[in-house]
Symmetry: D2
Subunit: 509 residues, 4 copies
């Protein structure tokens, strides 16, 4: 699902800047191309977990599929078109239903379609995209189409494609090249098929992770002459763009949509406030009331987790390295402790730091029996899971995503998702959150495509605040929320344009 | 009290940038010197309100004072020193008690004193200050002294001086020139006595509102040659500095401490979360449970008010002009409405916008009987109180700070503090919040005084994030809060210095 | 104020049954008449505190009063009537304003008046009353009048009478005998003047504390032949009635309105949820965020205190003796501790137990500097204040209701209201809560007066659940709350009458 | 699982008395024995749902079972014992693991075992039981054994037996007669095998639903001569006992453990506070923030649902028929409305009333597109699901337990669990809640078995408050909660025994 967007999000020990984190560890990454396997370990685990997830988008028709590679099949859609490569075009109907359900929860994109019935802000745009292929992406893609764009699309992950949705898109005339379970070779072949086809010269890039951008840089650098801009939404991809920019090699404007206000709040605070409860319940059926919990890190993700658990009657402790976030935790009513102080008494340990080895083997040794350990933060480094792979400890898989690690004295630690992200592995991301992201992407494409010459140089930009506000405003009708408009007199008094932007850039929300 | 610091705070319709607001209305202010009377109308009302406030700092000994102007008195402290001008040096003992009580709640400054027992970071500093003269200021001033500085001090407001505290400072050897109820002429005389005295050349300025800075610019411009920097904490003063800078007339580095993270969070979110309840209770003795409330503006102040009232069982509606803040209100569980939609049904209307005429006469006409109207935002413009000064309406003062405005049909509106800031007029600011501000000021002075040549130019700077974090860290012991330290390995992984700063500048907290 | 109604309320260590508490200590009380002075120590402190309270009902005209005893004055109201005895009939106008303000917040009584415009359910009732004389009582009394009753009234407390209100009632034709500062002799003289007057034979008693009932028993036992019933609302009075009943001496039906559901919830949970914050703020101006608080007792009062402080960002610990209430505290997210475990670390100690010596000198010795200690529970026994009256400790009154108790080493404990009830001494009781009580009293009078022969015997009864529900329903319009009605089919399915009662007697709400 | 205990719970429109509800509809039930099929429709649906539940206790080994009826098999456990009848004794090991996991979360029963190592309070007890056969029941049964009792056990539901657990019990020597998917005939055969076996005369009955009791009444009435008492925990069974009692036919003491305080709070308030979120998430993956929700009924279940959703940022409306509960909703901050007022605008409708046809076809017709409708209350009558079975509406099963009902104009309503209980069908009951129930049962058995002659007559009793408190106290260690003990002086002051009971019977908690 698109939900693995989230995998790239850095929550930091309260939101350490993404680039910094990546920088330290992954500087080498851009030069030395990692294999699909090595580099995408997280993605894979996510995709695997989606097999046993409770998502409505489960691939219920997969089992009937044959084992022939899609690349070896000859398929046509009902209109005779064969410019696509998906698992099975016959699954289109199932996929269409998923897309229709998603449309109902993505009102902002649907509103964009409506407003664009007259003018087509993307008329002439030729967008090549590389993202997860899900029902929500399909709504985005068909919206771009409705706004006038032509699109060609590949998957940014070898496991996350929903075959039915891909089929539905192909049936609707979209050149889609993606299926679940691509090989490394398939992966690049699909991307290439999107970029390099006769009579097609893309002028916009929508990327998630930077692979598409990388491919064009490597294989078709001349293409950039006609490209008006890149929209990138992942931490990793954004990091690569900043590196290109620093190295003076970025040859088109790029927009970092990962750090837009609206997207960040939903990806982290609002989403995690719900998914921490959901993830814990689905895996352990535990009761929250009265439980003692320590949350490591009081950034947006930590704030969300703490608020939810406190509301459910848990007693929550917080650890922090940043004194400002620590003071916030105090004022919000949480005891600020070092992990060692409470590790013997807590029932649950949750990491949300973006840091590594926050929970060490020593901590794990001191936890009490039945203590639950999970990670809501960044990547899979926060809990030192590797330290548990020692002979004296027994691992017992008691349920999907749930392991009991058993000490020689019988003590059991309940480890969730093997230390990977709980919210991705054991919960789902609401379509509404994905809607925020997709709308942000669409608006960034429109902005870059229509910007007058000179507004954007060969650099990485944040989404203009006004667009950020527009994303938010498109989602207000969902809540039947009614915005107040400034009077002329008030706008003058405040020195503001009536249509925004309403805040200075440094405003903290 | 220092509390009127708060008067300058702009909460914005969710935090509109201060300068913008001031700019539109007050551009003329800097050139055309307003009289003390005209310009300081808000300050005055605050000071008057302090007469009937419940503050511990009430001037209980005032009544026995004679009417002679302090300028006409000859007073000496017990050590024979007469370099000061206060109401009555004999009140020193009372003032000392107030200072001692304040010290207990200002642990950060006390910690600074302790840490400075060896080195004196302000040794050689000659600080001229112009702030409210309260017990908390006294703790600041005596801390600066303990850190090695010499100080001379005047009041930034003609009404806010606590005479006993001024006396205690004078008794302790501080040249203080301030009393409650100064005339316009007294005001400038006091400032001048701080600046222009033989054998004294200040090299640091601590200002609150910009009057001291203005005076030196006007009268002793040459003094700036020896001045290392200005620390300014009010919105108004900061605005003036930015204008000077823009005009190329700022001739020393200046530090804007108003917008530091820690100070902002405490002045707005945390402080207002409590003072909205306090202010409403003290004035109306109302019950919050089940009441319908509309809060205009969902910035930090609005967020604080909404959270508190929701927790007390009120049903809260929110109005907003900014779609991002609006979406936050939705996700926090508040119905987002236009004021007109709920104005007939609500029991309380609270403004927190920084805007003008948010509550109009038309709104007031439509409110139901007994509706309470108050302002937690900026200045006294949010409610159109002037529109209620019409012959058909009767005003009845039912209690200090509480007016009933009565319509011809008998309907009564309960107007609090005549539309001025409820939290200043009818509540108190906890010493802890003032401690945050005073510590921020002290650290800014230390930073500017000790900065190596070239670190700061002739411009306006924000407090370095590391200092901001330090302010926070000095306040953690109050909560017995234990910060976690990064290991070397973790710091390297995150690309951070172990001592901070821990976040990029754009981090939103 | 009527607020001292609350003084009789027993919150229990989570609501120990009132009678039991009284029983153990006060068994002797009924036989051996205590003096007014000795017995009513709590009332007095309340009344004294009202001098420095922030109530709107402050006796602003008292100062002009002469010192002549009202018993020695000849006064007539404007209609020439002199059947009353108040401080100064000329204060009637001030009192009337207070009554009018109270009327606006007592919608239930006003609704009763309206509904009774046709039939007069108390026509023929001759009610003799003995309660606190406040604006709220006045609304009750005038409502009883509007329902057809004749009334004569005395005060149940020698200090709590608001003279202006008494004057307003006298001016309106009510025979009121009460003033602030009665002597013991005055007290009984006033009661006697209500009972024993030519041409007047009361047939209903409304009592608060049992003194009126006691007087009639002692002096005019024959009067009971014509009396239809007693309505009693205080814990003390109810206890006396149960003792009379047990002893077989109760010769008329009596209604215990103290234990009605609606009244209890408002007096305890809802009221204390707000007054704990109010009382602490008004006395100490403290900030709640991040403070560590221990609340002793998790009954209704404790639940209210804990919920409010948690919502304001305090970290709350709970002590309990009852395992069921203890488990509730756990499930609501509070650490359940013994007082000793946290006494060294907490910033605030709040007692809500109904027990004695919950906070001992030993605890007080171990508290940290500046710890605030206060009592929200029953009477003034919870904190062992007497143990602090020792020579080595210094008491310093820093503000009304606030004492610093200073240890030889300089440690200060902040003791509020000398250990008496914080909510009575340092806060106010919202009129809405008093409205619940007054309505309950009115309905109990109507019920007893109109009950068919035989429904009530010579025993003590709880308010019928249907009446309890009716009190609640009369207060719903304040919140614009719309009740759903059962359909005939639903009522049949549930086996309920469509008009209630809706719950079995043991239902716990 | 035991979770279907919950099916019998009556939440009432805020807790209508169970018996009343049953009475109206089921008066005929006791005389006219319904078939297993007809009477147990709810149970069946629960059991079916458990097939697709996410419970750890899923019968993962079932698929390999053969189709032979257990009654036709000859099985022996490893000790050669064959006095049992289960699906497959070889599954014992799997079942034992489930039991061991359950033991860890049932500390109270484990504590009872420990305390009974010396004395055996159930020595000599011969208990015949008829309950759901789950891991938690197994812990109960083995605890009874450890306390000295002999047990024989059958299932109270033809679908709810976990075969592996039954096997583990049989392997451990317990005569268990139960398997998943019994026929009506099997059901009674199993019960009979527990009761009627040579050399066995039961002296205690533990029943859940009353079938076992009924069978003995009908077949072996003489057995009651030796039976010391019946413990019954279901609403239905309790209702039958009250009817027997009323009819003068109850010939032994019976204990109604359904209405004990601790059990009720956990079954309703605490459990539903969590399961409403869990049930909605698992079925719909929806986001709670900003959603408008109407909760019908503000009893314990409604209170739990409202608190949870409010905490997650939903805007919650409440409907009520009882003015007292309505007033509580107001004071807790919820708008009290009639369903019609908000039906067009809400995103979710939740019923918790115990009533029938609370949501009618007319309401359903007026809901907006995508509105989610579910039931947390009693039985499956609250939503008029039958009214949706009309030709013009299309039903679409989109996921297990989730139907889209589609109107001719395309509007879809999302109906969960076909209107049956969401918390049973789509969520799980935490073991901790089941531990409360099982401990209550064990203590009731001990009490009845050991009560001195004459303490209990042939009537239905509530669990003594002291036992209720004991159940709570046994669960406190889970939370590391430390109870305070009364001093002798305090106990005397309060008139209480130091060991409880601590409250009068009418105390409302």
């Amino acid at each position: 699902m698109l939900s693995n967007k989230k995998k790239y999000i850095v929550n930091g020990n309260s939101g350490i800047k993404a680039q910094q984190i990546q920088f330290a560890d992954q500087k080498q990454e851009f030069n030395k191309r990692p294999t699909k396997i090595g580099r995408r370990s997280l993605s894979r685990s996510i995709s695997q977990s989606s097999t046993d997830s409770y998502s409505s988008a489960a691939s219920y028709t997969d089992s009937s599929d044959d084992e022939t590679s899609p690349r070896d099949k000859q398929q046509k859609n009902s209109k005779g078109n064969s410019d696509f490569c998906v698992k099975n075009i016959k699954q289109a109907e199932f996929g269409r239903r998923e897309i229709e359900i998603a449309e109902q929860e993505m009102p902002a994109l649907m509103a964009l379609r409506k407003r664009a019935q007259g003018e087509k802000p993307l008329a002439g745009a030729k967008i090549v995209g590389c993202t997860h292929i899900t029902a929500q992406t399909a709504v985005l893609m068909e919206t771009l189409g409705a706004l006038g764009a032509q699109c060609r699309w590949a998957a940014c992950n070898i496991y996350s494609t929903l075959n039915e949705v891909a089929a539905a898109l192909a049936e609707n005339g979209f050149p889609v090249f993606a299926w679940k379970g691509e090989s490394e070779d398939d992966f690049w072949w699909c991307i290439d098929r999107c970029v390099n086809v006769e009579g097609w010269q893309p002028n916009m890039i929508l990327d998630d992770g930077g692979d598409l951008t990388h491919w064009i840089y490597k294989k078709y650098p001349n293409m950039f002459k006609k490209i008006k801009g890149i929209v990138e939404e992942s931490v990793t991809g954004v990091h690569r763009l900043y590196q290109l920019s620093k190295a003076g090699k970025l040859c088109v404007p790029a927009m970092n949509v990962n750090d837009s206000v609206t997207k960040q709040k939903f990806d982290n605070l609002y989403c995690c406030r719900e998914s921490i409860l959901d993830g814990l319940k689905r895996t352990t059926d535990m009761m929250f009331g009265g439980k003692q919990v320590v949350v490591c890190g009081y950034g947006e993700v930590g704030k969300g987790c703490c608020a939810a658990l406190k509301a459910m009657g848990s007693i929550v402790y917080v650890t922090e390295i940043d004194p400002i976030c620590a003071l916030q935790a105090c004022m919000d009513g949480f005891r600020l402790v070092k992990l060692n102080e409470v590790i013997r008494q807590v029932d649950i340990v949750i990491t949300c730091t973006g840091n590594k080895n926050v929970v060490t083997r020593e901590h794990l040794d001191r936890m009490k029996n039945s203590c639950i350990v999970c990670n809501m933060g960044h990547s899979n480094t926060e809990i030192d899971v590797a330290s548990l792979r020692t002979p004296e400890l027994t691992w017992e898989r008691v349920r999907s995503q749930v392991d009991h690690v058993i000490w020689p004295d019988g003590k059991r630690i309940v480890l969730l998702a093997e230390g990977r992200l709980l919210n991705l592995s054991c919960s789902t991301v609401p379509t509404f959150v994905l809607s925020i992201t997709a709308t942000t992407q669409a608006l960034a494409l429109i902005e870059l495509y229509n910007a007058p010459e000179g507004r954007y140089k060969q650099d990485v930009y944040l989404l203009p605040k006004k667009m950020d506000e527009y994303v938010a405003s498109l989602h207000l009708p969902t809540f039947d929320a009614h915005l107040t408009e400034l009077t002329d007199e008030q706008a003058k008094y405040l020195g503001l344009n009536k249509n925004g932007p309403f805040k200075p850039n440094y405003y903290r929300y």
